[in-house]
C-alpha cells in the first residue's frame, strides 16, 4: 500500500508551482552568482519537503484531517495562519543565499566572489540595506539624532543636527514631511489594494472553474456562504497584510520608518531580516529533535524492560540540567572551537551559520524530553490494544509494529507539541541572545536587537525605536503562533472541545 495516494485537485497546480520554483532556482544559480547553501538553508529545504509530505499524508487520514478542518472553520486560527505564512515566505526568500561576483578582480579566467553572502531578500530590500546613515536617527526623521559640526554655504561652522543622507533627502523643507508621508501612505495603500485585487481575481477564476458556476455566484458565495468562511477570513487577513507591507515598503523607500541603529543601519531592515533567524530556531529545532523524541519515546513505551530504563535515564538526566545552563555550556564549547579553528570557514556567514546550527541542535537536545515522555506514556497505553496483540500474533516484526501501528496513532500528539513549542522557542532566542549564548553577534536577530536596545534605553536622549521594532515583529509572530497553537490543541484534544 503506497503511503500517499492522492490525486486531488490541488496536486497538479502544486506540482507546477514546485517545478517553476525549481526552474527559477536553477536559472538563478546559472546567472553568474555563486549560490551558497548554508547548512540551515538545506535543513529548511528539508523541512519544507517534509511539510509537503505531511500535508499529503494527513489528507488521507480522516482522523488527522478532521481536526484541521475544525481549525479551518474558525476565524482566529485562519487569520493567524495567514500571518504565519507571511513570515514563513519572508524567511524562505531570505534563505536563498549567494555571493555576487566581483567586477574587476579578475586575474585570468578565475572569477572571484564577494566575501559577503547576501540573500534574495537583501536583493528585494536592496535600498534599505545600502542606505546607511552615520548613526542614530529617529523614525521618519530627516535629521540625525545627534548634533554635529556642519559647514554652511557661506563657510561658517555651525553645531546642529545634520540632514540625513537618505532619510527624507528628497524634501526641501522639514514642513513638507507630514504631507509627504500622507501622500506616500495613500500611494502605498492603493498599490496594496491593487495587489490584493489581483489575488482576489485569481481566487475567483479558480473557484469558478472548480465549482462550475458563474462569476456572480462565486462572488456572492465568497462573501456570504458559510462554507467559504476560511477563504473569506484568509482574504481579509491578506488584505491587511498586503496593505501594511506595501505602505511600509512605499515609506521605507525614502524614510527610515523605524529609524536607524547606532551604526546607521535601517532598523526596519534589521527587524525583517530577524524573521529568518526566529523562524529557523522555532522550526528547525523541532525538526532535529523529532526523530529522537519519536523513536525513543515509542520504543521506550513499546519495548519496556531495559530499553525503557535506559531511555528514561537519558531523558531524566538531560531534563535535570537547567536548560539555559546546558545551552550555555554547549555554546561556550562551540565558541571555543570556532575561535580556535578560524580557517575552516569560507565566509563570516558560514561561521555565524554554524553557531545558529549549534544553537538549534542544542535547543533540540534540551526540548525533546517533554515530547519523549508523552509519547512513552501513549505507547504504553497503545501496546495493550488488541490490534497490536493481533499484529504480534501474526508475527509482525517489532519495528514494523512501531512504524505501522504505533507511530500513526501518536502522530496527533506530535503535531500538537510541535505547534505549541514554536512560540516558546522564538521567545527563547531573545533571552539566550541576551545571556550571550544565543546566535552569533553578527547575525541579525530580535534577541540581538533587544540586547543593544538595553543600552539605548539608558541613553540620554533615549533611543526607543530598535526596541519598538523588535517588539512589533516578535509580538505579531508569537501572538499568531500562540493563537494558532491554541486552536490546534483544542481541535486535537477532544477533552477541551466540549468547553
Amino acid at each position: 500500500m503506497p503511503l500517499i495516494r492522492t490525486q486531488a485537485w490541488w496536486f497538479r497546480p502544486a506540482l507546477i508551482i514546485f517545478i517553476t520554483l525549481l526552474l527559477l532556482w536553477i536559472g538563478f544559480a546559472n546567472s553568474g552568482v555563486k549560490v551558497v547553501i548554508l547548512a540551515t538553508d538545506a535543513l529548511l529545504g528539508l523541512l519544507l519537503a517534509g511539510l509537503l509530505f505531511l500535508v499529503a499524508y494527513i489528507r488521507q487520514r480522516p482522523d488527522l484531517l478532521d481536526p484541521w478542518q475544525q481549525v479551518s472553520k474558525r476565524r482566529i486560527p485562519v487569520a493567524a495562519g495567514v500571518i504565519l505564512l507571511t513570515y514563513a515566505v519572508i524567511a524562505l526568500i531570505d534563505s536563498v543565499h549567494f555571493r555576487v561576483p566581483l567586477e574587476n578582480a579578475g586575474h585570468g579566467d578565475k572569477v572571484h566572489y564577494s566575501v559577503e553572502v547576501s540573500s534574495l531578500l537583501d536583493k528585494v530590500l536592496q535600498q534599505l540595506r545600502t542606505q546607511e546613515e552615520s548613526t542614530y536617527s529617529a523614525p521618519f526623521a530627516i535629521q540625525l539624532y545627534s548634533k554635529e559640526m556642519i559647514e554652511q554655504a557661506d563657510g561658517q561652522m555651525v553645531r546642529d543636527y545634520p540632514r540625513l543622507k537618505y532619510g527624507g533627502a528628497h524634501l526641501q523643507h522639514a514642513d513638507e514631511r507630514t504631507a509627504d508621508i500622507i501622500r506616500l501612505t495613500l500611494v502605498g495603500s492603493i498599490k496594496g489594494v491593487l495587489l490584493w485585487s489581483g489575488l482576489l481575481i485569481i481566487v475567483l477564476v479558480v473557484r469558478r472553474r472548480t465549482t462550475g458556476t458563474t462569476t456572480k455566484q462565486v462572488w456572492q458565495a465568497l462573501w456570504h456562504d458559510p462554507s467559504t468562511r476560511m477563504l473569506r477570513t484568509a482574504l481579509v487577513t491578506f488584505l491587511v497584510v498586503l496593505l501594511l507591507a506595501s505602505v511600509a515598503m512605499q515609506l521605507a523607500d525614502v524614510y527610515h520608518i523605524f529609524g536607524t541603529s547606532k551604526v546607521g543601519q535601517d532598523v526596519f531592515y534589521q527587524a525583517v531580516k530577524s524573521i529568518r533567524t526566529g523562524l529557523i530556531i522555532g522550526t528547525l529545532t523541532t525538526l532535529v529533535m523529532l526523530p529522537f523524541a519519536i523513536l525513543m519515546g515509542i520504543a521506550a513505551g513499546y519495548f519496556r524492560g531495559w530499553i525503557d530504563d535506559v531511555i528514561q535515564y537519558i531523558y531524566t538526566t538531560l531534563n535535570s540540567i537547567p536548560g539555559v545552563l546546558l545551552i550555555a555550556a554547549a555554546i561556550l564549547s562551540i565558541q571555543v572551537y570556532i575561535s580556535n579553528n578560524p580557517d575552516i570557514f569560507e565566509t563570516a556567514a558560514d561561521r555565524a551559520d554554524l553557531r545558529l546550527l549549534a544553537l538549534v541542535l542544542i535547543l533540540g537536545v534540551t526540548s525533546w524530553t517533554g515530547l519523549c515522555r508523552l509519547l512513552r506514556g501513549e505507547a504504553l497505553k497503545i501496546r495493550e490494544m488488541e490490534y497490536i496483540q493481533a499484529a504480534k500474533a501474526f508475527g509482525v516484526s517489532p519495528f514494523k509494529v512501531l512504524g505501522r501501528h504505533i507511530l500513526p496513532n501518536v502522530l496527533h500528539i506530535v503535531l500538537i507539541i510541535v505547534v505549541l513549542d514554536f512560540s516558546g522557542l522564538v521567545l527563547a532566542e531573545a533571552v539566550l541572545s541576551y545571556v550571550g549564548v544565543g546566535v552569533d553577534p553578527s547575525t541579525i536577530s530580535w534577541g540581538n536587537m533587544i540586547n543593544s536596545a538595553r543600552l539605548e534605553m539608558a541613553r540620554e536622549p533615549l533611543v526607543w525605536w530598535s526596541l519598538l521594532a523588535a517588539f512589533c515583529f516578535m509580538f505579531a509572530l508569537v501572538l499568531a503562533a500562540n493563537l494558532f497553537a491554541d486552536a490546534v490543541r483544542d481541535a486535537f484534544d477532544p477533552r477541551m472541545r466540549v468547553s
Partner: protein
C-alpha cells in the same frame, strides 16, 4: 515512606553521575584545556609558557581521567575528572577560573536570589489563582473570552520587554523606585526589591493564570461538582469549598517542583536589576566564560531539580491521601 525516600535518593545518584559526565565531556573532551587557555589569554598573549602557567594555576594541567605518573590512589585522584568533577558530589565546588572560592560565593549570593524569588513566587501564585478563579467563575461568558485573549497577549510578550519597559516606566519615567541595585539592610532593601518582584509577577501572569484556569475548568467538569450543585450549594461555595481544594493538588505539586530551584535565582531579573544573586552570578560566569562556575551551577541546578522531583512526590502523599508511595 522512609524506604521510598532512600530509594529515590539512591536513584538520583546515577542521574547526577550522568549530569557530571555530560558537563565533563562538554568542557574537557570537546575542547582541551589548551583551547580554554587560548580563549582566555587572547590572541596576543598566547605563548606555550603562558598556556602552561594558566593551566597550572587552575589545576587543568593534569591528565583527564587516568594519571600514569602518580602512584597508588593518585592515579585516579590526581586527574582533572576527580579534582574538578567528582568533587562536586560532596558539594566541593573548588575555585573559579578567576581564583575565587565558588562555594563561598554561592552561600553569599543565595540570599539576594531568594529575596526576589520567594516573594515573586508567593505573590504570583496568589494573583494567578485569583484571576483564574475569576475566569472560571465567569466561564463561557465574554469576560472569560476576553480574559483569555488578554492572557494570550500577555504570554506573547517576551520577558525582556516586561523588564525593559517596567524599568523605563516605573523606574525612569515615574522615578518611584530605583532602577537597579541592591541593599542588604532592612527596609531600605525593599525599595530595590519592589520592581523586580512586580515584573516577575506580571511576566508570569499570562501563562500561569491560563494554566490554573485549565485546571479549574477540568475540575469543574467532574461529578462531585455536579453533586455539590445538586445539593443546592451556591456557585461561589462550590468554587471555593470544592473546586479550589481539589485543584490545589495539581497546583501544589507544580509549585513544589520549582521551590528548590528558587535558589538558582532568575537569570534575567537579577542581571537587569543588578541584584548580586546566583542568577546574575551565572550570567556573569557565562559572559566571562568562567567554565568552573558554569560547571558548578550546572551541577547545583540538577541537584536542586532532582530534589524538587522528590519533594513533589512526597507532597502528593501529604495533600492527597489517596496516593500511597510504594
Amino acid at each position: 515512606m522512609i524506604a521510598y525516600i532512600i530509594r529515590r535518593t539512591l536513584y538520583a545518584i546515577p542521574i547526577l553521575i550522568g549530569v557530571n559526565l555530560i558537563t565533563f565531556t562538554l568542557f574537557f573532551v570537546v575542547n582541551s584545556p589548551d583551547d580554554m587557555a587560548r580563549l582566555h589569554l587572547g590572541v596576543k598573549r598566547v605563548t606555550p609558557e603562558a598556556i602552561d602557567k594558566w593551566k597550572q594555576e587552575r589545576g587543568y594541567d593534569k591528565p583527564l581521567l587516568y594519571n600514569e605518573g602518580a602512584a597508588g590512589a593518585g592515579r585516579i585522584t590526581d586527574t582533572i575528572f576527580y579534582e574538578k568533577s567528582a568533587r562536586l558530589f560532596v558539594l566541593d565546588f573548588g575555585q573559579s577560573d578567576e581564583g575565587r572560592a565558588i562555594g563561598e560565593d554561592i552561600r553569599e549570593r543565595m540570599w539576594p536570589s531568594l529575596a526576589i524569588a520567594i516573594p515573586a513566587l508567593l505573590i504570583g501564585l496568589l494573583v494567578n489563582i485569583t484571576f483564574a478563579l475569576l475566569l472560571a467563575f465567569f466561564r463561557a461568558t465574554y469576560i472569560d473570552l476576553w480574559g483569555v485573549v488578554a492572557l494570550v497577549i500577555m504570554m506573547s510578550v517576551s520577558t525582556l520587554f516586561y523588564i525593559i519597559g517596567g524599568q523605563y516606566l516605573i523606574g525612569k519615567l515615574m522615578s518611584l523606585v530605583p532602577i537597579s541595585g541592591y541593599d542588604d539592610g532592612g527596609l531600605n532593601a525593599i525599595r530595590f526589591l519592589i520592581l523586580p518582584v512586580l515584573i516577575g509577577v506580571i511576566g508570569g501572569v499570562g501563562s500561569g493564570t491560563r494554566w490554573y484556569r485549565t485546571i479549574f475548568l477540568e475540575e469543574m467538569g467532574k461529578d462531585y461538582v455536579r453533586t455539590a450543585r445538586a445539593k443546592g450549594l451556591s456557585e461561589l461555595k462550590v468554587l471555593f469549598r470544592h473546586v479550589l481544594k481539589n485543584a490545589m493538588i495539581p497546583i501544589l505539586t507544580g509549585v513544589v517542583v520549582v521551590i528548590p530551584t528558587l535558589f538558582m535565582g532568575s537569570l534575567l531579573l537579577e542581571s537587569f536589576f543588578g541584584v548580586p544573586g546566583l542568577g546574575s552570578y551565572t550570567i556573569d560566569a557565562i559572559r566571562n566564560q568562567d567554565f568552573a562556575v558554569v560547571r558548578a551551577m550546572v551541577f547545583l541546578g540538577s541537584l536542586l531539580y532532582i530534589l524538587g522531583l522528590l519533594l513533589t512526590d512526597i507532597s502528593y502523599t501529604l495533600v492527597d491521601p489517596r496516593i500511597r508511595l510504594s
